[in-house]
Amino acid sequence: MTVQTTQRRSGGGYLERPAPSGLADVVEIILDKGIVIDAYIRVSLVGIELLTIDARIVIASVDTYLRFAEATNRLDLLEQGGGKPLDEFIGNMQESGAGRKVKGAVSGAKKALTGGDDEDEDRERRPAKKSSSRRRSSA
């Protein structure tokens, strides 16, 4: 999420208090929210729907698994106890270049839509609890 993490910090300072900044955050906050007054909506929310679709495409596919695999392989894992051969770490570093490409392509698609950064391309969106969605015939 593109957030400024330099905002006010209270107490011990472990809790991040970002302020929503940038389009990706705002879309996430407002998407499909609020009272609906269908009768008057003269505009189609093309931009928003595209975003929703974009986020869903990334979810339900083998690609999701490949991304988990990629994330697992890309990392220099933290050593706990036993220890692993050094060449694993070198391998990791070599892999990371190719790995980022995958993620980059997904972010790129989203960026094209939002014009902003977003690390949440894997996030599933669904319409949140729908608020009053009563329809009236137009005047």
């Binding site: 011990g12 407002i30 929310l45 695999a69």
Partner: protein, 264 residues
């Protein structure tokens, strides 16, 4: 906050941008008499106006409708108007982005009037409460290390695939990803439940948003009573400290009650 132009349906003096194709973009509903920051502007920098009907008022700006709103700047403007209203002491009921009413009379007589009582009741239920967004995100490196460490099949598949080019060992990669995804999901369920057990009792309402991917643990919109805000934030601060090695906790807001516009 100073009171902005508070007009009623009788006030039809504003001609707006030239050309007939104008409409009123509605941001939200507030209680009648709610002060609106004087210099508040919305889409296309249009000055914000309020239209009162009984106990409630609509907050709107005039826009040209040849170009449907929906650009990024429009979303940001919408959010910033509602955010500004939410910073005040009075509740605001967000209207979903994209609501455009043809004229002032329509706002009052056709949007507000039929549901005046309903809106007033919703505003009442939101008074003295704020929406906050609470998220927990795994330290990816930490969580994946835990998983590789604790599940031999994953460690094996990882060792097998990680030095191969991307095209190679496709089936093994998919299998690895599937196992890791499941392992993350299992941990997420446990960690999320533990966090929510601590946090939700201090909220008046909550909406959990689905999370997926490697990092997200919890994504929740919560409605917190103003009198419990400090307690709530202190609890989160304590949790953030407790868990900081495995995950980061974030708190955003207060925002307008986007997730609770349908009532609590």
């Amino acid at each position: 906050m100073t009171s902005a132009a508070d007009v009623t349906a009788d006030d039809r003096s504003s001609p707006g941008p030239e050309g007939p194709e104008v409409g009123w973009f509605v941001y939200g509903v507030v209680g009648a008499g709610t002060p609106v920051p004087q210099d508040l502007t919305g889409l296309d920098e249009g000055p914000v106006r309020t239209f009162t009907c009984g106990r409630v008022a609509a907050v709107a700006t005039q826009i040209r409708v040849e170009r449907p709103p929906g650009r990024g700047v429009d979303l940001l403007a919408y959010h910033s108007v509602l955010d500004a209203l939410a910073q005040g002491d009075h509740p605001v009921l967000p209207v979903r982005f994209g609501a455009v009413v043809p004229d002032e009379v329509g706002i009052v007589e056709e949007f507000l009037a039929p549901d005046e009582a309903y809106f007033a009741e919703l505003l009442e239920s939101l008074a003295g409460r704020s929406q906050l967004m609470f998220q927990a995100v795994y330290d990816e490196r930490r969580i994946l290390s835990e998983i590789v460490e604790s599940e031999p099949e994953i460690a094996e598949l990882r060792a097998l695939t990680k030095d191969l080019p991307e095209e190679a060992a496709y089936a093994e990669r998919v299998r690895l990803g599937e196992l890791v995804a499941r392992a993350v999901e299992a941990r997420r369920e446990m960690d999320a439940a533990a966090l929510l057990d601590e946090v939700l009792p201090m909220t008046d309402a909550h909406v959990l948003r689905p999370v997926s991917g490697v990092e997200r643990v919890v994504d929740a919109a919560v409605l917190v009573h103003d009198q419990r805000r400090d307690q709530f934030e202190n609890r989160l601060e304590r949790l953030a400290e407790e868990h900081h090695e495995r995950m980061r906790l974030r708190l955003m807001g207060p925002t307008a009650p986007y997730d609770f516009a349908g009532g609590v």
